[in-house]
Amino acid sequence: MKLTPQASRRLAAASLASLVALTACSTNSDGATAEGGVSLDLVAYSTPETAYNEITANFAKTTEGEGVEFQTSYGPSGDQSRAISEGGQAADFVNFSLEGDLTRLVDADLVAVDWNAGEHQGIVADSVVVIVTRPGNPLGIKGWEDIVKPGVEIVSPNPGSSGGARWNLLAAYGHALEVNGGDEKAARQYLVDFFNNAVALPGSARDALTSFTSGVGDVLISYENEAILARQNDQELDYIVPDETLLIETPAAVTKDAEPEAQSFLDYLYTDEAQASFQKYGYRPVVDGVTGEVDGANDPADPFPTPKVLFTIADDFGGWPAAAEKFFADGEDGEPLGLVAEVQQETGKLGE
């Protein structure tokens, strides 16, 4: 290929122009659709996708939601949050599985500081930590004490890479504190036994479920809504709600420069209709008086049994920042290791 100088100059100009065009291709975030309606960017963690499909369709039928279209993005909670705060992903409405993923956006000045000032503290749906067993519960697992018996194989997502896994470990720790009358040493020993029985710590809650349904382990620590959704999708598994467990609260918010319709959507989520959709797919509603059967629950007519003791992050663990520091700090900043990380190192070395 021989080029005359003129031709090559033209080519150079052309490639430069295309490069400029390439960099100019930023995301179109003005939110207007072709028909003059509004398009909202909904960014959420993976599990509520089925619920949101129904909720967004119903919202479009209301007067506030008329003509509103949704651009949805679902993925691991932490990744989604980082994509918005660092990657500049467009978002009008966000829903994460962990408070820390939302406060990351507050720190990045993308979400108002008073996002949790409302009646429901910014929480749109609840769930609880449950123990998933093989069909028919062949080992007769009744609660937390049964899973740390010798030989029981536990699958739980990796508390390092999966933010959601932290709910599970705090529920287990809370149980141990409760039955041992607040003895932190005994509770720590419970975690040691727990990790000694762990056969797999997959990357995310979804990976853990996949691993479990592929035959790994005897029990899976998961969320009630995940277990119910799996059963709705014909996965063969059972679950029990332990006597002591932790309330899982999933926060949602609108971003600072969101379209006004995003706030209407957030308000709509607290209506009976939207909460009924969350309930249908296994979430515990956050408003009273929502009824309806839940397919896949142990008892579809009475889907959400009240555990004897229900811990909350705020009341029993001093809120997420304190809990993260105490249990999950990775020691990289010169601070001491978190309790869970420490126990993991200890049990890991023994197993070597």
């Binding site: 090559s8 980082r82 710590l201 790994v216 990775d330 190192q345 890991g348 197993g351």
Partner: protein, 297 residues
């Protein structure tokens, strides 16, 4: 070097290593007084595009990683590697990647040989299937391997959540590298030379050692470098299969993800740049070995 990669054929970019090809040059093009600027406009454009593309995709992100890691000074590196758990992950990852690369060198070369030199039923099908590990999303690969070697294994092999699972997943995703780099070289290899050697009384072993291997060495080394670098960075196929157990089956990429999840970008970058350095050392070492072997021919 960049222009060599670009392969602009007729351009007189850089002198060919053997300077005896002047007669094939186009007329009237031997006019450069200064050897410093040897770029024709076309070649300059090529080099420009190559450098812009390379910088955008590789150079700038790499520098960003090193800068982020460097913000904490040497102590950041020290802190990261001081953690037993991280150190165990590095050892496991590098060790398994090395084993898998060695296996690939042997098995990959054999597969390439079989595909080029032998005729058998189903050969062209096999030739296509070799690329499947490239095409398959790695998470799907992990699922497939889990169903094959997990607790419900139809083969009776329960390797999930052990070190073997790590090796298996790495071997699966890196298999095509050496096959695909060796194959074309083997196809070009002149059988006459082997026949001549045989007629001079060389045994099969000698022919293999003195003629075939030296010609294949650069291709094998290139494939091995790709295979090793890919193996130390693997994540997708491992998350389901290996179980991510600290000190036992947790690989470096999972550690990096843990740092990111905790907001420790600096530690993540430090660990990532340590792995970059490991990859660099191995690639250079492979190149040295390759030259030694090639020179024996």
């Amino acid at each position: 070097m960049t222009s060599a990669l670009l392969g602009t054929p007729a351009d007189t970019v850089g002198e060919p290593s053997s300077g005896q090809r002047t007669p094939r040059r186009p007329f009237g093009r031997r006019r450069r007084a200064s050897p410093r600027n040897t770029l024709t406009p076309g070649a300059g454009l090529g080099l420009g595009i190559a450098m812009i593309w390379f910088s955008l995709l590789v150079l700038i992100p790499l520098i960003a990683i090193i800068v982020t890691a460097g913000e904490g000074g040497w102590s950041a590196y020290f802190n990261v590697l001081r953690s037993d758990q991280t150190w165990a992950a590095v050892k496991l990852t590098v060790g398994q990647a090395a084993i898998v690369t060695l296996i690939n060198i042997v098995v990959g070369t054999i597969i390439a040989w079989v595909l080029v030199r032998d005729q058998f039923w189903g050969k062209s099908l096999l030739n296509i299937i070799i690329d499947v590990p490239f095409a398959l999303p790695t998470i799907v690969a992990g699922l497939v391997l889990l169903s094959l070697y997990g607790p419900e294994s139809p083969l009776g092999l329960q390797w999930a959540n052990t070190e073997r699972a790590v090796m298996l997943a790495l071997a699966f995703v890196t298999l095509p590298f050496i096959v695909r780099t060796v194959q074309p070289v083997l196809e070009e290899l002149d059988a006459d030379v082997e026949e001549a050697a045989a007629s001079l009384g060389a045994r099969r072993g000698t022919i293999l050692r003195r003629i075939i291997l030296p010609s294949l060495a650069p291709a094998i080394a290139a494939g091995a470098a790709l295979s090793f670098s890919r193996a130390i960075s693997e994540y997708g196929s491992l998350v389901l299969l290996s179980g991510n157990l600290p000190f036992r089956t947790e690989v470096v990429s999972v550690r990096v993800l843990t740092f990111i999840e905790n907001g420790n970008t600096q530690s993540a970058a430090a660990l990532a740049s340590v792995m970059l350095a490991v990859a660099l050392v191995v690639i250079v070492a492979l190149d040295i070995v390759q030259r030694k072997v090639a020179n024996r021919g």
